[in-house]
Every structure is written in structure tokens, then in C-alpha cells.
């Protein structure tokens, strides 16, 4: 079986995996980082979004071996010293979650958005989140949370 090694949330991580092992399986089952969720299994819902080398990807649609050598960040890697990341704090403050299942993927996508575009319009936020589905349909508060995290008032 191939050995993969990568940096996950700043820490080295390695393991023996099958070729078919998905990145999300490596994160959840080998590393026990279960904050990254598996929703649809068909690359539609975005619950599994993590950052690979700083960019959002759906970790259910990438083999662990494809991330060999990469820097991976999961939802567990956002908080520092017990302090929520500003995006997590904004989701909490603005009630950007209902059941919470989509939330890890939503937050990871949103962090990538503000890294890419520090002051997005509401339309740009909604377009960016097209690959993240919230089946509680809590989109309005998710958008408000992201606007707040971007320092925009009126959220």
C-alpha cells in the first residue's frame, strides 16, 4: 500500500493507505479529524471542503495520495490557542448555522473567499458558495456571517 505524508493543520501526518483511499477518509479515519463531513458522496454538497495548498477542494473527490506532500487545512486547523477563527466567530454571532452539518465546508469555503477577495459583494459571496449546499436553507445568515467577517456592516 502506498505511504502518504502531508502537513495537516501545521502538523506532519503520514499513513499507509490504499490507492482508492479518499482524502476525506484519510482525514476522518486515519487522523480522526472528524470535523470534515461527508454529505452527498457525489461531489455536490461541499460538506467535505478543506484547503489543499491554500485552495478549497472537495476532499471526497480527491485521493489521499493526490494530496501527498501538500499542506492541508481542515476546520480543526482554523482556531488558534482556543480562539475561534474570525469566520467561525462570525458564523456563531450571526447564526450562520442551523443543524450544522454543512458548516465546516461553508466556513472553509468562506475563509478561502476572503483570502481571495477581501471585500466580496453579496452576489460574489452567493456565487462562491454555489458548491456548498445547506439543506436547512440557512443561506441568508451564512451570507450575513461572511459579510460580517469581511468587516462589512449591514450584515
Amino acid at each position: 500500500m502506498p505511504t502518504v505524508s502531508m502537513t495537516v493543520n501545521g502538523q506532519p501526518a503520514a499513513g499507509e493507505v490504499e490507492g482508492r483511499t479518499l482524502l476525506v477518509e484519510f482525514l476522518r479515519e486515519h487522523l480522526r479529524l472528524t470535523g470534515t463531513h461527508v454529505g452527498c458522496d457525489t461531489s455536490q454538497c461541499g460538506a467535505c471542503v478543506v484547503h489543499v495548498n491554500g485552495k478549497s477542494v472537495k476532499s471526497c473527490t480527491m485521493l489521499a495520495a493526490q494530496a501527498d506532500g501538500a499542506e492541508v487545512t481542515t476546520i480543526e486547523g482554523l482556531a488558534t490557542n482556543g480562539e475561534l477563527h474570525p469566520m467561525q466567530a462570525a458564523f456563531k454571532e450571526h447564526h450562520g448555522l442551523q443543524c450544522g452539518f454543512c458548516t465546516p465546508g461553508m466556513v472553509m469555503s468562506a475563509v478561502d473567499l476572503l483570502n481571495t477577495n477581501a471585500n466580496p459583494s453579496e452576489r460574489e459571496i452567493r456565487e462562491w458558495l454555489e458548491g456548498n449546499i445547506c439543506r436547512c436553507t440557512g443561506y441568508n445568515n451564512i451570507v450575513k456571517a461572511i459579510q460580517a467577517a469581511a468587516g462589512q456592516t449591514g450584515g
Binding site: 490507492g19 482508492r20 461531489s43 477542494v57 473527490t61 480527491m62 485521493l63 495520495a65 458548491g131
Partner: protein, 291 residues
């Protein structure tokens, strides 16, 4: 759980071509290349494909990137949709290709999905293909015995069948920068803006000569077993000063050039209606920019 497979991730193109050279038959088994994986891994998990070996291309950095020089755009096979969106010069002469990237899946899929992967998926709804067809793109196919260049218009042989010999790898997509007096446009009609399979995709490229339409390309996605050009409609436009009546007649001809099906996304009748409406709209927009 779907079947396991051998996974090899070569460091060089030569190693990748050697690994692929043992490919037998292609189709749904055997040895297959793996680029971004946004189609392949979904298909694996749904057991629509069952390769015995995958050759991961992720370390072949030479296959990724966009180079514009000497009047030609050369795009490595592993160039992603996000790479297309980030390129500073592409929107100027290939807005159709940039526009399709903007509505290609969601942003996380765009970070992984590659141009060659989209082409080689063979889907008639592959969003990069209409724009590339309308730009007269050519693709380079490589094997241990050498490379050959095939016009994209000759690449697709039928539904999910293409011109690659077993083991051949697409390494580059290239086209001439369109002339100064030209315009190209793309529109994707889907049930959502981006992250949904296309109902009808239309790309149009026009070049003007002396106030008339010199060359015309109309490429139509998701309305036939392959993405195809509406060549009879194109011929109606060439050499003419375009009028609303002529554009409408050509758009009606485009409907006769396609063969859509009913499926869960739309009826064949609705697709024909949209081919007419979108072709008319995009040709009109492209022509207005030239006059």
C-alpha cells in the same frame, strides 16, 4: 466500496507515458490517467468505471500553465479552470473560455478540474469544449513513440469515444490568438448558474472582414452525442453582412444541426428552442462588437 486499483504517480512525463503505454482498450477498465479527479473519482465511487490502474498526473508541473507567445495560446493539459480565471490576458481574446470557467462547477471543483480532463471525459455537456471548438483549438496527444496534433473538431468520434489510441495522453491544448476584428462568446444554460450539468451550452466566434462576417464558428453542447459545430449554420453567416433576419435564419439552421434527447434536465424540444434562442443571442452579441 468500489474496487481498489494500482495507483502510480510518476515524476516525469516520460514515466507517465511508459506507465500508460500498457493501457489496454481504454473504456471503463484498464489503465487510465488521473488528473483533477473531479469526474473520475465520482465515476469510480458510482462504479461507472473500474480501472485496474490509475496514473496520477499531479506531479507533472510541465503539463500545467498557459503560455501566450508568437500569436498562439498553449495551455498545458493539467491547467485548471481556476488557472484560466486567474490568467491576466486570456479574458481579452478568449472571453468565451473564461466565461465557461466562471460557471464550471463550484469554485472548489474549478481548483481541481483540468481542461484536458474535461475534454477527455467525453461528456457532450463538457463546458470547456464548445468554447475551445469555436476557437479552432488543437490537442496534442503523446505516447512513448512521439506526439501528434489533432484538431479538436476531429477528436470526438461518438458518445464517450475519442481519437486517443490506447495509452495516448493529451498533453496540450493550443489555438491561434483570434484576429483583431473578432469576437467570441459563451453561454451555459443550466438549472443553476454553475454547479449543475449543462442543459444547453453555446459558444460563438466570429471574425469580421471588410464589414462582413469572414469566419463563423458555432459550437453546441449537450444537444448531441458529442459537442459539435453547427457547420451549416456557420456557412450561412460566412461572407455576409449579418442582419437580424440572417442571424435568425442561421440560428434556426443550428437547430437542424443538432440531435438532442429528453433527459432529467430538459426535454429535447426545450433544448431545440434554446439552441435557436441562444445561438441568435450570441451571434447578435458577437456581431455587435464587430460593427
Amino acid at each position: 466500496m468500489y474496487a481498489d486499483f494500482d495507483l502510480v504517480i510518476p515524476e516525469t512525463l516520460d514515466e507517465a507515458l511508459e506507465a500508460l503505454a500498457g493501457a489496454v482498450g481504454g473504456g471503463n477498465g484498464g489503465t487510465q490517467p488521473l488528473a483533477g479527479g473531479t469526474n473520475m473519482i465520482v465515476d469510480l465511487r458510482a462504479r461507472r468505471v473500474a480501472p485496474s490502474r490509475l496514473v496520477g498526473l499531479g506531479r507533472l508541473d510541465g503539463l500545467r500553465g498557459i503560455r501566450i507567445a508568437d500569436g498562439r495560446v498553449r495551455m498545458g493539459a493539467r491547467t485548471t479552470m481556476s488557472d484560466i480565471l486567474r490568467h491576466p490576458d486570456l479574458a481579452g481574446h478568449a472571453p468565451s473560455l473564461v466565461d465557461q470557467a466562471r460557471v464550471f462547477g463550484g469554485q472548489m471543483v474549478r481548483n481541481a478540474a483540468t481542461v484536458a480532463g474535461n475534454i477527455c471525459s467525453g461528456s457532450p455537456a463538457a463546458d470547456a469544449v464548445p468554447a475551445l471548438l469555436a476557437l479552432d483549438a488543437e490537442v496534442t496527444l503523446a505516447s512513448p513513440s512521439g506526439t501528434r496534433v489533432v484538431p479538436l473538431s476531429e477528436f470526438f468520434l461518438g458518445y464517450k469515444r475519442d481519437a486517443r489510441a490506447p495509452g495516448e495522453l493529451m498533453t496540450e491544448i493550443a489555438w491561434d490568438i483570434p484576429p483583431a476584428h473578432s469576437s467570441n462568446r459563451f453561454y451555459k444554460l443550466a438549472l443553476r448558474k454553475g454547479d449543475a450539468i449543462t442543459v444547453v451550452g453555446v459558444a460563438v466566434a466570429l471574425a469580421a472582414e471588410d464589414g462582413k462576417c469572414g469566419t463563423a464558428r458555432i459550437a453546441l453542447g449537450a444537444v448531441a452525442p458529442i459537442v459539435k459545430r453547427a457547420t451549416a449554420a456557420e456557412a450561412m453567416l460566412c461572407g455576409q453582412a449579418l442582419t437580424p433576419e440572417l442571424i435568425d435564419a442561421a440560428a434556426r439552421q443550428a437547430v437542424d444541426d443538432v440531435d438532442p434527447i429528453d433527459d432529467i434536465r430538459a426535454s429535447a424540444e426545450y433544448r431545440r428552442h434554446c439552441v435557436h434562442a441562444l445561438t441568435r443571442r450570441l451571434v447578435t452579441q458577437a456581431w455587435e462588437r464587430l460593427t
